[in-house]
């Protein structure tokens, strides 16, 4: 059969956003692939140059609707590094707790989309419903559902709402039950295993060479997690394992994310237990010094970096964002070639695309 190019995108159910994957198929087998991004470019880095430091926090939220808390937290870390602000310990614990909740919500959204891609409708609706529980929790904390605007430079906007600890522990307990159910639903499904095991293999060396980070790299056997390797916030005081898997296929990526959700539950418990009383915010200076600040965090999708240059005024001179998924996407041709057309959705779905942060 003749080879032909197929555009999977920009408007396509597989994309989960707005991007274009051009695949060259020979019958059903993929012989070449070429991701095209940039459809969702909003010029966030440039917008930030015209805004004062506190005004950037809600913009940073808009980088990814799936894990907006991580991004505003990353921005606050970067600005604190620039301004040399010491954050109270209670605020750090609140942030860690909220980030882990966000991580679970993000992974659940990934799971829902992944199940939807596989045609497993019940996985889609159940994961979305359970994500809603964490969204509700974060809404109680921050006041809005998706873009929280909760962290501040020098702490968090306000203290925990009443009864938050009780609700959070209940939710975590519920989530642990649900995780067992998900493992039943997915791992015991023969068709799910047929579609996942041995598909889209990314070797460890390739992953490192291409700059892949996050669950996609950990699934290839590299134990690389910024929370352990370059600890920020109060992660050194929290006891958790880095979820890794040695196979590097789609099933390994799924497994790593599931294991991470277990770890997240444990981290939320520990953070709530160790949370001290006290202040939750210090006042940050209005103007930043003419210096630079760098923040690196472990996003649900990989290593997110933000770099800010101050010029003495109340606005940044330059803000640079390193999106993990943008780099991960460059591995697409490597992991797609040789598999079937139907595997495209599984492989690309397994990378957890988020186009907001990708195109910025």
């Amino acid at each position: 059969m003749a080879e032909m190019w197929i555009n999977m995108g920009p408007q396509h159910p597989m994309t989960h956003g707005l991007w274009n994957l051009r695949v060259k198929v020979d019958g059903e087998t993929i012989v070449d692939a070429e991701p095209e991004v940039g459809y969702l470019h909003r010029g966030i880095e440039k917008i930030c140059e015209g805004l004062t430091y506190p005004q950037i926090i809600p913009i940073a939220d808009r980088l990814c609707y799936g894990s907006s808390f991580t991004w505003s937290h990353l921005y606050c870390l970067t600005a604190e590094d620039l301004m040399d602000v010491e954050v109270p310990e209670r605020a750090e614990y609140i942030r860690v707790m909220a980030i882990e909740m966000q991580r679970i919500a993000s992974h659940l959204m990934w799971l829902a989309a992944y199940a939807g891609d596989l045609g497993l409708s019940v996985g889609f609706t159940n994961a979305m419903r359970d994500r809603e529980v964490f969204i509700d929790l974060l809404q109680g904390l921050a006041g809005s559902r998706l873009t929280y605007n909760y962290p501040r430079i020098g702490g968090v906007a306000h203290d925990l709402p009443p009864n938050f600890e009780r609700d959070a522990l209940r939710t975590v307990r519920y989530m642990e039950q649900r995780l067992k159910e998900y493992e039943d639903l997915f791992d015991n499904s023969k068709i799910f295993m047929m579609r996942n095991v041995g598909i889209g293999i990314l070797r460890k060396e390739d992953g490192i060479d291409l700059g892949v980070t996050g669950p996609s790299l950990r699934a290839s056997g590299a134990s690389y997690d910024l929370r352990k390797d370059m600890p920020y916030s109060v992660y050194p005081e929290i006891d958790f394992n880095v979820a890794t898997h040695k196979d590097g296929d789609c099933y390994a990526r799924y497994r790593v994310r599931m294991d991470e959700m277990w770890e997240c539950c444990s981290i939320i418990r520990q953070a709530l237990k160790k949370m001290p009383k006290g202040k939750w915010r210090v006042v940050a200076p209005r103007n930043a010094p003419a210096s630079t600040g760098l923040g690196r965090v472990e996003d649900p999708r990989g290593e997110a970096v933000m770099y800010v240059v101050g010029d003495g005024s109340d606005k940044p001179y330059r803000l640079k964002i390193r999106s993990p998924i943008f780099v991960t996407l460059s591995a697409a041709p490597k992991i797609l070639v040789g598999y079937k057309l139907a595997d495209v959705v599984v492989i690309m779905g397994g990378l957890d695309m988020c186009l907001g942060e990708n195109d910025r």
Binding site: A115, L118, L120, R129, R195, V345
Partner: protein, 375 residues
């Protein structure tokens, strides 16, 4: 009274009514008109014309009943998906009957939509494909009887289409040609791949399906639905031929293209597969035809394996048949919403390497049972 007699009565009465007026008209007119009128009237009252009209009326009634059932099926499809996937399903349109009217409302909405034909499409093929698809699917329904008395019979003693089951299976397998035609003529890469997949899929799943049906024909000793159901008076065929029953159900799911095997329209990778370019009521027809085929599949499984209309006589036979068909369809839905989609090469592998040997094994079991004299 069976359906044939009922329809024959109606037609006879109508012809008599018309002929009375007709002959009277002939009486008042000059003789050369009168002869013509008498000739036409005699033809109308002749036996061949009456049976032809009766069969026509029968078919219309059967198709109408089947289409009402299809509406039920669509409703069950949406309600059960709601139950499993955690939402209500249709609710407000026809509030008192559980949202049953939602499908009619959707149908009206689809009728009002513009029909768009792609510029570079092959117009004739694009036009013909839905007709063949829907027509061949309705053709299946025409020969499936709901009971001994409710079915397409060719004479007053209730004799049925002699090879009805064979005819139903043959009509079942026309659809891939329509799908291939639709996929090719739409001039779109997704539809092309969808059409090709459909052809490959149907081809490989038709064979085990027919082999399972063949073992039933072997046990029953007939291609006729009524004889097949009669043969299950002592024991329903799914008990001695359990393997065949399971294989038959799996193949049916592949034939009606619902989730584990809905590769021709795999929405994640092929957008809507071979139906991508069809909009408006043409899409509605495809949607409806999926339900028609599901109904036909459920009815086939019921008639061939589940004892057809047999059951305690508290409820009419027709209702028994429909209940069984609905249960088969519900099992399909249950499967559909709880398993992921399989990949095309895995699916073909499953068809050729697992189902085909199992179907042959089932045929062997049937042959042993038959020669051993148990049936």
């Amino acid at each position: 009274m069976n359906l044939f007699e009922f329809c024959y009565g109606i037609i006879h009465w109508l012809v008599d009514l018309v002929n009375n007026l007709w002959y009277r008209l002939g009486d008042v007119l000059p003789w050369y008109f009168g002869d013509f009128f008498t000739g036409v009237g005699d033809f109308a009252a002749s036996d061949s014309h009456l049976s032809f009209m009766t069969i026509l009326l029968e078919s219309i009634i059967i198709i109408l009943v089947a289409l009402i059932n299809v509406l039920n099926f669509l409703w069950i499809f949406r309600k059960i998906s709601g139950r499993i996937l955690d939402f209500y399903g249709p609710y407000y349109v026809g509030y008192r009957i559980g949202g049953w009217l939602q499908n009619l409302a959707d149908g009206i909405k689809l009728f009002l939509k513009e029909i768009i034909v792609p510029t570079k499409a092959d117009k004739l093929g694009f036009f013909l494909a839905p007709i063949i698809f829907v027509g061949s699917s309705l053709l299946i329904l025409s020969v499936i009887p709901l009971s001994e008395n409710f079915g397409l019979s060719t004479n007053s003693s209730g004799e049925y289409v002699p090879a009805g089951a064979l005819f139903a299976l043959a009509a079942f397998s026309i659809a891939p040609f329509a799908i291939l035609l639709a996929g090719w003529s739409s001039n779109n890469k997704y539809t092309l791949i969808g059409g090709m997949r459909s052809a490959a899929q149907m081809m490989s799943y038709e064979i085990p399906l027919i082999l399972c049906a063949a073992s039933v024909f072997l046990l029953a000793g007939s291609f006729n639905f009524v004889d097949i159901v009669d043969a299950q008076r002592d024991i329903w065929f799914f008990v001695p031929m359990f393997i065949g029953f399971v294989v038959f159900l799996v193949c049916l799911i592949a034939e009606v293209e619902i989730v584990p095997f809905d590769l021709p329209e795999a929405e994640a990778e092929l957008v809507e597969g071979w139906t991508t370019e069809y909009g408006g009521m043409r899409f509605g027809l495809f949607y409806m035809t999926t339900a028609i085929r599901s109904y036909a599949g459920g009815a086939l499984a019921t008639a061939l394996f589940l004892g057809g209309w047999q059951g305690p006589s508290l409820i009419p036979d027709e209702i028994w048949f429909l209940i069984k068909a609905y249960i088969v369809y519900t099992v399909f839905m249950w499967l559909t919403w709880s398993v992921p989609r399989i990949r095309i090469d895995q699916m073909l592998g499953l068809g050729w390497r697992r189902l085909l040997p199992l179907a042959v094994l089932n045929l062997l079991i049937a042959a042993v049972l038959k020669t051993g004299g148990w049936f």
